[in-house]
């Protein structure tokens, strides 16, 4: 069985770099929310990666070499930014 967390293939570096920015960089996340297509192109993502992100398709992203955790947390942070009222803060 393939491990859940696998060695990130170097070919997926631009995609992983972008997911890292989405979850860690507020400015990139805001820009992506406002203008997804130019933001993805500026980060050097190819059409496969762009369409997987457009669909929010985790399985496709992971198949392209995205780290599952980065996909997960990028989605969490996008969702927290989109619907802040949906969360209880302790």
């Amino acid at each position: 069985m393939e491990s859940h967390y696998f060695f990130p293939p170097a070919t997926a570096y631009p995609l992983n770099r972008f997911l890292f920015a989405l979850k860690s960089n507020n400015a990139v996340r805001e820009r992506y929310a406002a203008e997804p297509e130019p933001t993805m192109r500026e980060h050097g993502l190819d059409e496969d990666a762009r369409s997987a992100l457009r669909e929010g398709n985790r399985d496709r992203l992971v198949a392209l070499g995205a780290h599952p955790y980065l996909v997960f947390m990028a989605q969490v942070r996008l969702s927290m930014a989109r619907d802040p009222g949906n969360f209880e803060y302790f």
Binding site: H67, F72, M80, P84, E88
Partner: protein
Amino acid sequence: MPLVAAFALPHTPQLLVRPPTEDRELVLRVHAAFAEVKRRLTSARPDVIAVIAGDHIEGFFLNAVPALAVFVGTRAAGEFGRYRYGFDVHEPLARAIVEQGIEGGFDLTYSQDVPLDYAFYVPLHFAMPQPQVPIVPLYVNVYLPPQPAPRRCYAWGQALRRILDARVERVALIASGGLSHYPGTDRYSSPDYDFDRALLTSLVEGRGAETARLTGEELDKAGNVELRTWITLLGAVGAARAEVLCYEPSWHHGNAAVAWPL
């Protein structure tokens, strides 16, 4: 000064910022365990809290992937949603850990500039004594293969204990991580709670050293890649018997809080 306290705690961000998917009562029961840890930490009067945590690709990225790292700065800061965290770092202890760790054969990475991961500040949010105590962030790579072998983590914990026991400061140790969960994968909603329960039983019986014989493959399979932080702490506490303060399996995460009476 021998270690004054040791705990292993969960850090799942849903404990800090709860989405509607999470059972509020369960979250509050984990908070009660954090409160008990805070009470015990306060009475242990530590001068510094060393926190062993896995980086969630928050601080370190693929430009450099340290297996074991120490934050040697003056202040560690991180943010999550509307929260902004800042902790003083006990630089003399952090530096001693790096110097003596390397001298002892552990080729540690150090950083003076890395954002603090939520694995550090979620437990500290709930369990940090007031007034705040300086920390030393100790990193173990858990999410970016190849990760350090469990036996190496255990050996690092043993070496860490020798370093800490020789210091004048009163040091408390917290491992942050686990238990079973599979974020970002198809198994997210079916963690391996049997693994967790067997593990907790072995810790209560003082058999923590057995974790050093686990393989990386077994940890990945059980959704316990983060157990490396606990294994590091187990190297430091040896055969001390654990006390389980809570085990609260949610629909996606085995939340465990454990104390080691020293």
